[in-house]
Point group: C2
Chain length 135, copies 2
DNA sequence: TTCGAAATGAGAATCAATATCATTTTTTAT
DNA sequence: ATAAAAAATGATATTGATTCTCATTTCGAA
């Protein structure tokens, strides 16, 4: 059966879709509030969890800001800038064979994997360069 | 200069080493307390952070229990059981070439990556099988 | 040994996320 | 439709991991 959509659930989903990036629950809540739609905090969290459980949205756990929600459902990796802590998607290099490899090695069922790369993003690299020249 | 070792820092480090698995800060705190060493909570957290920053211990972020600390410094992956939420190490398949691949693709500095596989561990798989037979 | 920097500990504060529970909305069966 | 049952909502309290504050203690170099 298809998931039931209340007004609030629909709106939460819309905001995540529009954002088209990585949004926090708080951001979703504030966006709705700024549009005059008073959806309670609990409802925002409940619905994000539900949408995630139903595989309608994706999420990653960010060490600083908690969960980040995303509509990109195609398997992909993430890049985490260690200077500004921003997250970017890394597409097109997903390795499904890795799951099989771990299954064979550990003799366990493996459904998927998540990978995050750590480095320095473009804008932070430029800032660094500018500072170096200033010295 | 080498990191300075106070009594408390030494003890925190020892407990993580002994555990030889994935321990929470709380576990470290309680272990020390049960041994009669009253190290404050803040001190435990401060030292775990410091040891991590100094690359003397490793850590991963677990969605349910927060950070898990570990002395295994050699690059490795993790396996997360979706039923019991236990973590296991996955060794010997670390792919350093992935970092280079992302560097070339995104034109960004990449230092390392972290990967977690999601599936069902051995003991949970057995429980499932037993339950299926009971039906 | 002494002075200054670093570390400690107790407890308060923070902050994302969840729980509680009365009220409202939606669904189902009649 | 309409009433009873189930699910969802929202306001608020609570949790739980982690960090902050700050007075006191310890450490380490001169």
């Amino acid at each position: 059966m298809p998931i039931k959509f209340t007004k609030q659930r629909q709106m939460v989903f819309e905001v995540v879709k529009e954002a088209n990036g990585h949004v926090t629950a708080e951001k979703v809540y504030n966006t709705l509030k700024s549009r005059g739609h008073h959806v309670g905090v609990a409802t925002v969290y409940r619905n994000l969890n539900l949408l995630y459980d139903e595989h309608l949205i994706n999420r990653i756990l960010h060490p600083d800001v908690g969960y980040l929600y995303d509509v990109n459902l195609s398997p992909h990796y993430h890049f985490h800038c260690e200077m500004c802590n921003q997250i970017e998607d890394v597409t097109d290099i997903y390795q499904p064979a890795m799951d099989k490899m771990v299954e064979d090695r550990l003799h366990r069922k493996v459904f998927r994997h998540m990978t995050t790369f750590y480095g320095v993003c473009e804008s932070c690299a430029q800032k660094e360069k500018a500072e170096d020249q200033a010295v």
